[in-house]
Symmetry: C2
């Protein structure tokens, strides 16, 4: 068996963190901006985000949620109204204190002391407190409920250690904020949003996820319940890919979101919030990337098929390009995953082979190459990014159908790639969840000695609170572990709590995480 010469310099198994950085750069997704903790999202990375936005936004609108836009700046006093909330965010907020610059007399600029704000403004780290103000104005009667809003926005959390897409000081996200008459309706919305995230992650991003409730210590600051979807990366670590919070009446009390109920008395609304961010792109990279770069699931690929004509910088090129344009137009008329196929004819200058490897690294699902002989034969050569190599000879696994045949099957090919990426990730995820561990020492051994990628462990516990929970968290922390969530719809607990020895009440997933 020939040696495959992979398209990246770093292999996942050699240095996963370094590999991650190389994929981002080799696939031209993003780069450091020079501004601390902020990245520049480049066209291919932003194109993936636009696809995620489009698909998620369709799901959000289908649920009757309406998009709005709320201010970037939040007055400091808004934050002090919900004690846990401010406690959770105060340490990482960017604060605007001045509204003008003046010369420092040395060719530089300084904030103008005469233009100091009376009340500093915080750059939103999340918008519960400012949207709560609006909800208090908008909600008067039960007839105004449910109030279902969402915004697509940038938010800022001043992170000390940043990592592109996964943890950046500024990131892009959507944040849904809803108000309801009672606990039941708000919880139903919390679960609707959670299920929407599961469906988007699995069906659009091909990320298998486990939806469940976060333990008390991992709740969103100010929430009564926090639910998450958790995805397993190829290094076995967990990535929290989306969260949905039931906020009880905490923010309603803070902002005064009150309504007259059906019986005429004043009640506080029960609110929810839920969000996903550009972090999802980090999850796509670490789930679907391989030693040749990124593999983008077709549903979120800005271009699903790239056609590369083998140009020779000769007069015959015109005919070849015309032929490829015919193929492009025919493919663009087909559908895959319920939408028109997105096809790019790449006529940029450069050698076809070099361009092929660029698109391999970027992870275009299907790459077509067409040379003069293919044109003469009415054929084309195509590569499936998820089946890149012929392992028998170590060469790219091209297939050579007649072009009309390929046009007819292109939709099915893209759908097959979408499924195969999902199935591959799901099989790997399932193979790396260890169940039935009943002794703490076995958990410790598993993570101490369980190899490089120990994955996740499912254990039973008694859902301790307060000090006991704190001890559990410390015990886990010593092994760099966290509780990811209590999987929704999981099996009932049957044994004893692995931490306390008390009768267990539920099953939890324990893992290292991003």
């Amino acid at each position: 068996m020939s040696q495959i010469r992979h398209a990246l310099t770093v292999k996942r198994e050699d240095d996963f963190a370094k590999w991650y950085q190389e994929v981002i750069s080799a696939a031209d997704l993003a780069e450091e901006s020079g501004v601390r903790g902020c990245m520049v999202i480049k066209p291919w990375g932003y194109g993936i985000w636009e696809r995620i936005q489009r698909l998620m936004d369709d799901r959000i609108k289908a649920a009757g949620v309406q998009n709005c836009y709320f201010p970037l700046f939040i007055p400091l006093s808004n934050f002090t109204r919900e004690a846990e909330h401010v406690e959770g965010f105060a340490k990482e907020m960017a604060v605007v204190t001045h509204h003008r610059l003046i010369s420092d007399g040395k060719g530089g600029l300084i904030p103008d002391p005469a233009a100091k704000l009376e009340e500093p403004l915080v750059v939103r780290p999340t918008s519960e407190t400012i949207i709560g103000d609006a909800m208090a104005r908008w909600v008067q009667s039960w007839r105004d409920l449910p109030l279902l809003t969402n915004q697509w926005a940038n938010v800022v959390r001043w992170e000390m250690r940043t990592r592109m897409f996964l943890r950046t000081s500024e990131f892009l996200w959507q944040e849904g904020h809803t108000a309801h008459e009672n606990r039941e309706q708000a919880l139903a919305e919390t679960h609707r949003a959670l299920e929407m995230y599961r469906a988007c992650a699995e069906d659009d991003l091909a990320l298998p996820v486990i939806a469940g409730e976060k333990p008390e210590n991992e709740r969103f600051p100010g929430a009564v319940e926090t639910w998450s979807i958790e995805a397993m990366m190829q290094d076995g670590k967990a990535l929290q890919a989306g969260t949905s919070h039931y906020l009880g009446t905490n923010f309603a009390h803070a902002a005064g979101i009150q309504y007259q109920d059906r019986e005429g008395s004043q009640q506080f609304s029960h609110t929810t919030s839920w969000g996903v961010s550009t972090r999802l792109i980090g999850g796509v990279i670490m789930t679907h990337g391989d030693d040749d770069g990124l593999r983008v699931p077709p549903a979120i690929a800005p271009q699903q098929i790239v056609i590369i004509p083998m140009l020779r910088e000769a007069p015959e090129d015109a005919e070849l390009i015309a032929y490829c344009e015919q193929v492009r137009a025919a493919l663009a008329g087909q559908t895959a995953l319920g939408e028109r196929i997105r096809v790019l004819l790449d006529v940029k200058p450069g050698k076809a082979a070099a361009k092929r490897w660029d698109w391999v690294r970027k992870g275009a699902p299907v790459i077509i190459e067409v040379g003069p002989r293919d044109m003469a034969d009415g054929k084309l050569a195509f590569l499936r990014r998820d089946q890149l190599w012929n392992t028998a000879n170590g060469k790219p696994a091209f297939t050579y159908p007649a072009h009309a045949d390929f046009v007819a099957e292109a939709g099915a090919v893209l759908e097959a790639i979408q499924s195969s990426l999902y199935e591959e990730a799901r099989a790997r995820r399932d193979a790396n969840i260890t169940r039935g561990v009943t002794e703490w020492q076995a958990v410790a051994d598993h993570f101490d000695k369980g190899g490089k990628y120990p994955g996740w462990v499912e254990v039973e516990w008694s859902k301790p609170t307060g000090d006991v929970l704190e001890q559990v968290v410390e015990k886990l922390k010593a092994l760099k572990l966290t509780i990811r969530n209590v999987p929704r719809g999981g099996k009932a607990a049957t044994g004893t709590c692995i931490f306390t020895g008390a009768p267990a009440t539920e099953r939890i997933l324990v893992a290292r995480a991003y």
Copy 2:
């Protein structure tokens, strides 16, 4: 002739500014947020923005421009590199100085003195300087050019006097930034963007505009040429609705955007930038609004047709709703302006007449009402928002077609509304441009005594610069006038400069403006 009872309390002719505020509130477009100068954009207003975004983004992508995302924060030192640029923006920039809050010991919060940034960060007022940094990294050779990028983002300019949509401290926009090999190519891009804006304004927003070059004193800080599209509001004032700048090599020098040209020597890139913002919505309101509220051009209406069943809170309602749902589905299968028709079946509780007036104020292009008798007859009643009143009897001008007939003609009706809004605005605009004025005194008289809405005046001038231009600007300022632009493709000047008496070189438009 009966008296029409309009749906707003303020008429345009009585108090245009107050009328503007009432439309925003009556159409539920936006509201003050409580954060100084920042507004909340509500679902109907944001829906209009989403439509504008979608149509403009299609145009941007069709031109080969790629969307990216750049940081919200810009280091102060970036600004000092281009002297005119910083001069233009320093007075209105929000400055981040701290990255953490701590308790003030009195239950409040203050910026943590221990978390002061070494170098303050500015919240972007525009992104030339930060995108310039990226371009300097991305551009090495002539092969990297043209570099065509765009971002959809929020920006902040600390305005002293704000007005919803027209001038807010934070606003939403797109900013295109491109780099080219030479002046000719950069100028061609400047004009491509200008023409794209003209087409979007006229074809999508039904805003007739005049495209032309801004005089020197109105240039974007740091630009060599600034071009604009100018729209006339119903009070005769001008609204700058979009700008496109040729930046020469000013920003390339500041950021070091250099490339190796085809002959192998180092050159500075010629760059451009161009933007439109949520201000466009203010233009739509002041162009198409009437004494009954907003009229949204169908191309940018979040819902083009609203169906209101005349419900009686009785068992028969179910049948009526089912009938209306059939009408809705049939209409949603039709196309108008090249897209599927957007139809809403409004089954919210409430009287049909009250709901009708809500949709009139919001400006839905077509409003359908269906009662049990209409259903029995297979008919429906519809209102065109642009032909709302039967002036003979002072009642809403309903038409009663068979429902199948209406479905067949709905696309044509929407297209007719789109054209009629444009034609109405264009006729008004053209009627309010006064040409052939050759004496300054006549201009002064026109604006002093020319009635409430003096519109625009076209005059010839000799394009003075420096001190002479400054005197001209002061002279205009005394009458609250500004030079809007030198219309592109306008007639050649034939007389003398109205300001200097020198031979005139071009025609300019002079007006009051937002």
